[in-house]
């Protein structure tokens, strides 16, 4: 039986069903690309070796039915292979390793954050989610009770100014017309932390390092642009644009910082003024066991070496975003890098201190660092025609800022004291037009949070030990799959360039 007999039989069958609109079928029965049609023929040939002469009728029928079904639906197990290669490249491929992975369930796969809102190191969250998923853990907000946590204040104030009480261009203000969103935000979120038994320490930025001035100037000019566009948008009455642009014009001023410091001191919450960068100071406090973790949205904190770094701690409870905890030691372990190499990786990804090499994103940077070990060696080996290295590229200076930032540990002992009721009422209600009832209630909350005796943690009594039993095959499989996935990705990334 040659394949043409199968074809004609197939054709007859179909005609019998659709005699009326045969023409349509003729057109519709070959919707597949030519390559698939070839494979149909080869499939038929493969399925009809000489031995088929003696085949039973049942098998013939089965083959026919199968072919019919395949022609009608256009779906077959073969179809995927017959697609031109590269057809399914792109987003889908990225997850394929997850589907092909063994049956083992994964606990809480870390969610990659949107890249757009990344601060500090560009694309680092995604890079870590792809390459060091074990270094990220989702934690409940409540699980940080009793912990001292250093909060990057400037970052929080900036967020409050953008989000709290804003509709279009209007923000919360006091009688004098000064913005009070930052106070509202700082007051409420700090109370939320205190109520959860968390002990926050707010760290404020000092003088920015010289290198950051470039970045700051860029931000300044962006803000200028946004301000211009905003006036245009207001003239045109474009509401969405107003909403978007007015957020971009937000700037944290010295006044905002001073207001918040005053508020926090009145609330009995310790404030630390960093000599230079707040993230660096936070990281230093954490490294020296003054605090348990650092909370910021700025991925810089990891580059500064904060052993534990939390994102989304200061997000409003209404958003229901779990806190994401990063463990720097695990990051290094999973990426197979030293801290110095990780800092170089961050500089290559793009940091606040200097430009990065155009065309080198996180994935390529990771590959290069793994291959060459340091920026110097990468520069020696990099194809200079393909990648343009910035003319004035102070990466060594940036590296120095990350490695030896200007920080101080000479700070007074961190103490959480009772709130100054009268002070708070006079500052918030009289000076800034807050509702007195609400403030009084909030003060009650602070006091009751303080009075509650706090729950101890087991780790303060028992110390972790290394478990002696080996997991049932676990390590080998997981390593293989992640490595294979990583290889695939780097290859794909390399080809694109």
């Amino acid at each position: 039986m040659s394949h043409s007999t199968v074809f004609s039989h197939l054709w007859n069958c179909r005609s019998a069903y659709h005699r009326q609109n045969r023409l349509d079928i003729a057109a519709a029965s070959f919707p597949l690309p030519s390559s698939s049609r070839c494979s149909l023929q080869s499939a038929t040939r493969a399925a009809s070796p000489p031995a088929l002469k003696s085949e039973t009728r049942g098998f013939k029928m089965g083959l026919r039915v199968w072919l019919l079904w395949w022609r009608w639906t256009g779906v077959s197990p073969r179809r995927e292979n017959t697609q031109p290669t590269g057809w399914s490249k792109g987003g889908k491929n990225r997850n394929s390793s997850r589907f092909l992975a063994p049956l083992r369930l994964r606990r809480r796969p870390p969610r990659a954050a949107a890249v757009g809102d990344e601060m500090g190191i560009k694309g680092l969250t995604k890079l870590l989610a792809d390459n060091a998923p074990k270094a990220m853990k989702e934690q409940k907000f409540e699980s940080y009770f009793g912990r001292k946590i250093a909060v990057d204040a400037s970052m929080s104030i900036y967020q409050f100014l953008i989000v709290v009480g804003r509709t279009g261009m209007e923000t919360l203000t006091n009688e004098a017309g000064e913005v009070t969103s930052h106070l509202q935000g700082m007051f409420n979120r700090t109370i939320r932390l205190l109520e959860a038994g968390i002990k926050p320490v707010y760290v404020f930025d000092g003088k920015p390092p010289d290198l950051k001035k470039q970045e700051l100037a860029k931000r300044y000019s962006k803000r200028e642009d946004a301000t211009k566009e905003l006036t245009e948008a207001v003239e045109e009455g474009d509401k969405d644009a107003i909403e978007k642009l007015s957020k971009r014009t937000v700037k944290v001023t010295r006044q905002h910082n001073d207001d918040c410091k005053k508020l926090l001191r009145l609330m009995g919450v310790p404030v630390v003024e960093a000599p230079c960068e707040a993230e660096a100071e936070c990281a230093a406090l954490c490294t020296n066991d003054k605090v348990y973790a650092v909370a910021s949205e700025d991925m810089d904190s990891l580059t500064f070496g904060a052993p534990r770094f939390l994102r989304h701690l200061m997000d409003p409870s209404s958003k229901k975003i779990p806190v994401m905890e990063f463990d720097v030691a695990k990051v290094l372990e999973e990426l197979e890098l030293t801290m110095d190499q990780f800092i170089d990786l961050c500089i290559l990804c793009g940091c606040d201190y200097c430009d990065s090499i155009k065309g080198i994103g996180g994935q390529t940077a990771l590959k290069l660092i793994r291959q060459h070990g340091s920026i110097e060696s990468i520069l020696e080996n990099l194809n200079k025609d393909r990648y343009q290295i910035p003319e004035d590229w102070p990466y060594q200076e940036a590296r120095r800022l990350f490695k030896e930032p200007d920080v101080t540990l000479d700070i007074p002992e961190l103490k959480w004291t009772a709130p100054d009721e009268e002070g708070l009422i006079s500052f918030l209600v009289k000076d800034n037009g807050f509702n007195e009832d609400r403030v009084t209630k909030a003060i009650e909350k602070i006091k009751s949070a303080k009075n509650k005796s706090s729950q101890g943690r087991l780790e303060s009594f028992f110390k972790p030990v290394v478990s002696t039993s080996a997991p049932l095959k676990r390590k080998e499989t997981s390593e293989k799959t992640t490595k294979a996935a990583a290889n695939k990705k780097t290859k794909a990334g390399g080809k694109k360039k």
Binding site: P102, L103, R104, L105, R106, R107, K134, K140, E142, S143, F145, G146, R147, K148, D289, K290, V291, Y292, K450, N451, K452, S453, S454, Q455, G456, R457, L458, E459, S460, F461, F462, K463, P464, V465, V466, S467, T468, S469, A470, P471, L472, K473, R474, T477, S478
Partner: protein, 263 residues
């Protein structure tokens, strides 16, 4: 290769019901000595330690030490399919991603195999030193369960104080306060109804009732519960599992605010 045959299968069901509320995922460790588990709750306040000794199993084969990560809710789903009189066998092959629970009916006329996927769990293992406790209270487990349940309708915390008089459980809440005192009582007909207090020093500690209540889920495993208290240590609530081992719950006390704590 792992093969553990437990004639009294209901025991495993009860163990699981006892810890399921506290911990969702845990690593079961198997070694030559027995089948054990150590896991903390998500907030690292309470810890459960389980030991089922090898001798307690009818057949115990464990070629090398290994740990199996399981989701306890999924495990409970499978064990719920076992009859109360069934013999349960836990099996796992080297290099496998799954564990198999085999249920045999007592008459051997029905055999069910349930295969469960394992998971990757990186959990911290805490070293728990053997220590002398200032006070050890042994009392009927049903009594302790009743006390915790009653007190939690009044307040969220319980103060457990042991003096020469006896052991006092007290709480207070918005609607009022409550005190329950249990005295030493060894003159009972049945030994499981006795209350025994061994005290070196008087001790008083505060605990969250929520956790205590979830510990009492283990009451079905043992008629008696042992509560060990020391002012410097978490409380230990222990239920002995007859001839097999124990299930111990550790709970960190509540601490007064003034004390300087670790970061």
């Amino acid at each position: 290769m792992l093969e553990l045959r437990l004639v009294q299968g209901s025991l495993l069901k009860k163990v699981l019901e006892a810890i399921r509320e506290l911990v969702t995922d845990a690593n079961f460790d198997c070694s030559g000595t027995g089948f054990s588990l150590q896991a903390m709750d998500s907030s690292h306040v309470a810890l459960v330690a389980l030991l089922l000794r090898a001798e307690g199993f009818e057949h115990y084969r464990c070629d090398r030490n290994l740990s199996m990560g399981m989701n306890l809710n999924n495990m409970a789903k499978m064990l719920r399919c076992a009859g109360n009189d069934d013999i349960i066998t836990i099996k796992a092959d080297d290099g496998s991603d799954t564990v198999t629970f085999m249920f045999e009916s007592p008459k051997q006329d029905k055999i069910a195999d349930f295969e469960m996927k394992l998971m990757d769990i990186d959990s911290e293992h805490l070293g728990i030193p053997d220590s002398e406790y200032q006070a050890i209270v042994r009392m009927p487990s049903a009594e302790f369960m009743r006390i915790c349940k009653d007190l939690s309708s009044i307040g969220d915390t319980v103060i457990i104080s042991v003096t020469k008089e006896g052991v006092k459980f007290s709480t207070s809440g918005e609607i009022g306060s409550a005190n329950i005192v249990c005295r030493q009582n060894q003159t009972v007909d049945k030994p499981e109804e006795a209350t025994v207090i061994e005290m070196q020093e008087p001790v008083s500690l505060t605990f969250a009732l929520r956790y205590m209540n979830s510990f009492t889920k283990a009451s079905s495993l043992s008629d008696q519960v042992t509560i060990s208290l020391s002012s410097e240590l978490p409380v230990v609530v222990e239920y002995k599992i007859a001839e097999m081992g124990y299930i111990r719950f550790y709970l960190a006390p509540k601490i007064e605010e003034d004390e300087e704590m670790k970061p």
